[in-house]
Symmetry: C3
Subunit: 209 residues, 3 copies
Amino acid sequence: MEDLSFWIGIIATIAFAVTGVLAISDRGVDLFGVLVLGLITAIGGGTLRDLILEVPVFWASMPIYVWVALVASVIAFYLESFFTQPQIYRSMLYLDGFGAALFGIQGADKAWGMDFGIPIAPVILGVITAIGGGLIRDMIAGRRNLLMSHELYAIPVSLGCMLYVFILEFAPRFAAEGSIACMLLIVGFRAAAIYWNLRVPSMFITKKR
Amino acid sequence: MEDLSFWIGIIATIAFAVTGVLAISDRGVDLFGVLVLGLITAIGGGTLRDLILEVPVFWASMPIYVWVALVASVIAFYLESFFTQPQIYRSMLYLDGFGAALFGIQGADKAWGMDFGIPIAPVILGVITAIGGGLIRDMIAGRRNLLMSHELYAIPVSLGCMLYVFILEFAPRFAAEGSIACMLLIVGFRAAAIYWNLRVPSMFITKKR
Amino acid sequence: MEDLSFWIGIIATIAFAVTGVLAISDRGVDLFGVLVLGLITAIGGGTLRDLILEVPVFWASMPIYVWVALVASVIAFYLESFFTQPQIYRSMLYLDGFGAALFGIQGADKAWGMDFGIPIAPVILGVITAIGGGLIRDMIAGRRNLLMSHELYAIPVSLGCMLYVFILEFAPRFAAEGSIACMLLIVGFRAAAIYWNLRVPSMFITKKR
């Protein structure tokens, strides 16, 4: 089980690094910038979470995540024209949604396990784990981020983390099954958003002035 | 006294969340973005302060601040047209100045109490507590922040925190009265800036090129 | 030796604060903004490093660095027309490269000494120490940062830190000589980039679309 979770983490890290690089590759970034921004996308959210939880950042004891993110970023740089083919890019988006689901539930779980600001803080830390890296990347790259572009990305993660916290509180016996169910919920919601190009309905958006 | 300080903190949190949401509502933000950015405005500065002080973030033991900020953000979203009426908006600005005064002095006090980098660091941490959340919000929202727009906001907070540190050093017996006096100084200075629309004089501004 | 390293740190801090202020002075910043942004440029990278390493931020026990950065920022504000003379500005750039070399190697050394995520994390923390402050400054000032502008700045720092980590691993007896050699490598590479106006070759840059 531990082993499975490790490999899922590796896959999620790769997906985050690759989509992170593709998100900013149209801005004329050099290879070094690609390495930094791919790395930040992949490990930035978990780093923020660990700083707030006051625990050692996860990549201090598991530097393999750093290596994987760096290698994936280099590959994304050199195979950019491959990855930006519409169908391949779409697959990467689904994989990225899977990564967000994993990182979100993992983050909420870590905070819950530390009894940290229950019940609201684990939800917040799950969301930070899933979207924090992308936000920092977009701030550095001067790019409009997902919070400002009405994407259905953080919302599925939040709902999944809320449901997971609910399960941990009221049905802790089903924590393991619950974590998988909540991940599937996030993946499904996110996949639907990608497939049908769903966005936040305009009634939930303030008017631009 | 503890009780009073708690309630003042709640009011300041509400003011920060509401003005935080109003500051970015003209950019077309969805309800989820509003929740995140209102929350960051309200608790971001204190979170930065606690990270630098290496103490648990305040909302881990007092999640009520998170709830209050979230509820205030939702209300600001739905009652935006109410809050943006000139007179109501002005009242919110005064309330926000009051919040900045409280957060600033609280932040300086917390750092001083931990004997942290005295005498300069408490001033810096007071300023971070008061303006950090707004800065992060503006970076995420891609908005010109108060440091770049010559507002008299961080300057009153800095002066108040400096005076407070001065009192703690040279007249520690008057710490309690001093904290209130310094808050009033900040509120008064900030209120004057809002009322007369004062800004940093141009002799203290570098030339745009 | 300790003493020498202290004074070198002070010189690097001054160089970072001054170049930090000059980098944003063309945007119409007021004196307070200059103080904040000069300070962030000078101590921001080391602060990020210490937060990630979970050690007290260096300026809590050595507030002298804060004072030096603040004074240097004020001087840069008032003597801006002096510092922006082409020849003086150029000297400041060389001094800034020297600062980056020092901060980079110091950061890598601190992480290595804590046995933190060896061997990759010390390199990352060296780079963060050297460029973190400038990145935060540019995000706050809404300015294109060095990661997005193909400057040869972070790359020399990374190479120097990598070599230093290599020496610490395989020739620890030469750690002291190695640290100086790696700093000289960074300074030399950076100086060459300034002198010949070298940038990242376009074959390592993604196409703008």
